[in-house]
């Protein structure tokens, strides 16, 4: 696009000379002054976003990120503003950018998470976890002492708390150093009991109250022994005492009642024997998640059964949809067929409706006693337990997945069929081949050259087709054995059950580890299949 902008010729003449095709129209759109303006606008937006990111990153002292943003923005600007150089890069840069943003970074992040204990109870950083442990192990005193409280300033402007014990009505003034009893008569109180004033102190109200809020949260008034009075809101205070004490030098928590020592177990928790303090924090745990995959009975037990079913599900879905899609494509490819557009549009419909909607509709249709399908079948005395029987549920899942995938193969087959030169088929017919033989020996091999890679892609997609399983059967029905995997659970839905519906709820570390394993399985299968399709290309 810069080329014509730079060559400062009137661009129209150049365009007229070429064929008025779609590509040249597109090029024309980006040539000349209009294109130049578009380019400036897009680059301005990119730079504005970069500048915005810089301000935020600098505010957080993320200097490495600042460096990266500056460098990337500079490279992009230079590439599109310095004329005449690196034309291929102009086309590659946007793609590369999005590849990194939406593929490389998530993959890197998944790998990173797989080596951590990121899960329920392990999402904070260690200092925050220590802070929270201190908070949640405070205990109320035996008689649950609470105070009516009002923050105030003393004569020299220091923050104090005016306190009235709710049980015995005694009045105090508390600072971070001491709790001093004062005569009741010095406090002024309103009808509902709140403190409105005190001799020698200025009670804070309105905006002033909000301003001291930050200081209130750190304020502990010593009240004898370990006890301390803390503000709870703006008009209440409670007396609490710690049950654990943190020793920063040794990095341990010590329980006050029995002296039990909780030490850092290097897995993101403070533990004492089997007792664990919560919350823990996020930490790298090496190959721990992978070794759990091998050692946990819960995971290992049904793995082979689930794996075989996953293979069967993905393979059958792809082959059935391809066979049906191709059949329909050949049928509807016939010239002179009336209302061909109508049939074709109708066939694409399942593809156009959002999958999760049609899956829920299918679930309703397949309801055992109340679904339409069984009501119709009931007229001929047949009753099929579509979702309630382990084997029928498998059939249902494959039928519905095929129904969802057929339009895709119908479309690609239709396209591929039209690209096969008709002379080849005519030549076969002249040579005396039957229609079936010419289809099998000529059409199908040529078709597969184009469609086989798409079949592999579709296989990889269905191998991880979480939505279909989850929305139609939820992995169920459960099978008799003592496992959590249902009859229709595929690896990815089983992973979900293990990582997000077991233990403490959410185990991102484990889920990422399984994700990596599944990636290697799919990659291996795809690699083998692709090397097979090479043979097809040679044949063609």
């Amino acid at each position: 696009m810069t080329a014509s902008a730079v060559s400062s010729q009137p661009p129209r003449t150049g365009i007229r000379a070429t064929a008025w095709s779609l590509p040249s129209r597109a090029v024309a759109l980006f040539s000349g002054p209009a294109g130049f303006a578009v380019k400036i606008a897009l680059l301005s937006i990119a730079n504005a976003v970069g500048l915005w990111a810089l301000v935020i990153l600098a505010g957080r002292h993320q200097w490495t990120a600042v460096g990266i943003v500056v460098a990337v923005t500079a490279v992009i600007d230079a590439l599109y503003l310095v004329p005449g150089r690196a034309v291929p890069a102009k086309f590659l840069i946007p793609g590369t950018f999005f590849l990194i943003a939406f593929q490389v970074i998530p993959v890197a992040y998944t790998i990173d998470v797989a080596f951590t204990n990121y899960s329920t109870g392990h999402i904070l950083k260690k200092p925050a976890a220590i802070q929270q442990i201190k908070q949640v192990t405070l205990a109320e005193t035996a008689n649950g002492t609470s105070f009516t409280m009002a923050p105030a300033h003393d004569s020299s402007g220091n923050l104090v708390l005016l306190l009235v014990d709710d049980q015995n009505g005694k009045t105090y003034v508390g600072t971070s150093k001491s709790l001093t009893p004062v005569p009741k008569s010095t406090f002024k109180r309103s009808a509902d009991g709140s403190i409105t004033g005190a001799t020698g102190y200025t009670v804070l109200t309105g905006a002033a109250l909000i301003t001291v809020s930050k200081d209130l949260s750190g304020l502990v008034i010593p009240s004898g022994g370990d006890n301390g009075i803390r503000a709870e809101g703006l008009d209440t205070a409670v007396e609490l005492h710690p049950t654990l004490r943190y020793n920063a030098q040794r990095d341990v928590f010590v329980r006050i009642s029995d002296g039990a020592v909780f030490h850092d177990n290097n897995r993101g928790s403070f533990v004492h024997g089997k007792e664990e303090l919560l919350p823990g924090w996020k930490v790298y745990v090496g190959f721990h998640n992978f070794s759990r995959l091998i050692h946990s009975k819960l995971i290992r037990g049904p793995f082979i059964r689930v794996f075989i079913w996953t293979l069967a599900f993905a393979t059958l879905t792809v082959f059935l949809s391809f066979a049906l899609g191709l059949f329909l494509a050949i049928t509807l490819n016939k010239q002179g067929l009336r209302l061909r557009w109508l049939y074709r549009s109708a066939l694409i419909l399942p593809y156009a409706v959002p999958g999760f909607l049609s899956l829920l509709v299918w679930r309703g249709l397949m309801n055992d006693d109340f679904g339409v399908i069984n009501k119709l079948l009931g007229h001929i005395g047949v009753h099929v337990p579509w979702l309630f029987d382990a084997n029928w549920a498998k059939v249902s899942v494959i039928v519905v997945s095929t129904w969802l995938t057929v339009p895709y193969f119908f479309l690609v087959s239709l396209g591929a069929l039209q690209s096969i030169p008709s002379e080849l088929i005519e030549a076969a017919r002249v040579d005396g081949a039957s229609p079936w033989a010419s289809f099998r020996k000529v059409t199908l091999p040529l078709l597969l050259v184009a469609v086989a890679p798409l079949m592999i892609a579709s296989f990889a997609f269905n191998f991880n087709n979480f939505g279909n399983i989850y929305l139609l059967t939820g992995g169920g029905p459960s099978v008799g054995d003592n496992t959590v995997a249902g009859a229709t659970d595929i690896l990815i839905s089983y992973t979900y059950k293990i990582a997000f519906a077991a233990g403490l709820g959410q185990d991102y570390g484990l889920a990422s580890a399984v994700g990596i394993i599944i990636f290697f399985i799919v990659a291996a299968i795809s690699w083998v299949s692709f090397s097979r399709t090479k043979a097809l290309e040679n044949l063609a």
């Binding site: 680059l43 504005a48 703006l234 008009d235 209440t236 006693d369 939820g474 169920g476 003592n482």
Partner: protein, 420 residues
Amino acid sequence: MVRKRISRVGTALVAVGALALFVVASGSPATRAGAPTGANRAAADKLVIWVDSVQKPSIEKSAAAWGKAPVTVLVHPFGNIRDDLKSVKPENAPDIIIGPHDWVGDLATNGLIEPLYPKSGTKKQFPKYALDAWSYGTAVKKLYGAPYALENVGLVVNTQLVKVPTTFAQLESEALAFKHKKSGNIAIAVPQGSGGDPYHMYSFFSGLGGYVFGRNKAGNLDPSNIGIANPTFLKNSVLIDKWNKEGLINSKVDYNTAKNAFLKKQAAFWITGPWESDTLKTSGIKFKIIQMPRIKFRAVPFLGVQGMMVTKYATDHGVDAVAKDFVSSYMMTAGAQLDLANDNGRTPANLQAAAKYKDPIQSQFGKAGVGGVPMPNIPQMGSVWTDFGQAWVKSTQGAGATKARIAFTTAARNIANKIG
């Protein structure tokens, strides 16, 4: 020459354009309100609350009535509040969230919410189970939220079709008689479907002596004490086999089937909750909502208690005293709870407010929940739902059903394995 000039002009234009866009974007009021940046968040002069869109107006009213500090009520999809709190950037994090009580274990285990210490006088205005529902702690039990609304299912009876039963035997005979009147009729419309629905089934479960988790000496729920196949329940579970045989309950009835059957008068008994109040009001059906009659034990439903929590981020933002004032001092008062209940149509948790709250349907649901069991709030509950539901599905699927004793024993074993 020309090239160089164009390149320079381009650079200048891009620089000017970028600056202009930047100024416009960062200066616009939309960005200010929507995504507070680190700089203007540090002022700590306002509270940010995450609320679902349905409750936003009522919570905004409550915040205005409290009036001590400006409050920004941000709409957040209800189902995402819990998980988004785990990944949100601290500067964008809310100071207060709303949610059901069974999030407490998970959020507290993660260290994301702060314990609250309302005055004992305030706490006395709440039923014990509402406070228990919001309490959690492995070492020290703490209250983590201000309960404000109760929710539970009840047995809705179409009084034009059947008599309101006072014993379970009556319910059973009425329901079966109605079912046999016409093909397509359902005895008790209680939703399950192939995925199961132990929440709606809980009255049957508790009525037979089942419980999910027992409590330890400290009064906390104990994940190692699973009562889904406790001896008493297993002994009574022969009744499930009987109900399955006679068709009193059937797992093939899913949510929509149950609802439609009741509305089309193909079912005289429907187990549902207050979220269907509007459906009931507009149905034109004469109905009464009761607690399911006692089976072997009182057949109480699961209770859900909605509440408000102060997040750990309130401390980071320096507003936790203000946030706690709003949540545990103001929102727990009878006045605030009654206002909120009148606005969003849910039974208030505060007993004084509940006594003054007059909504015929809500109060019937409220009575149906008396003595109910709060859903366990410990994070291990996530391991329970599926297997618990499947035990019901398998034992009540009509012909070919598994014996309840076996189904529930298997479920209990699977759950124990999953909890680990």
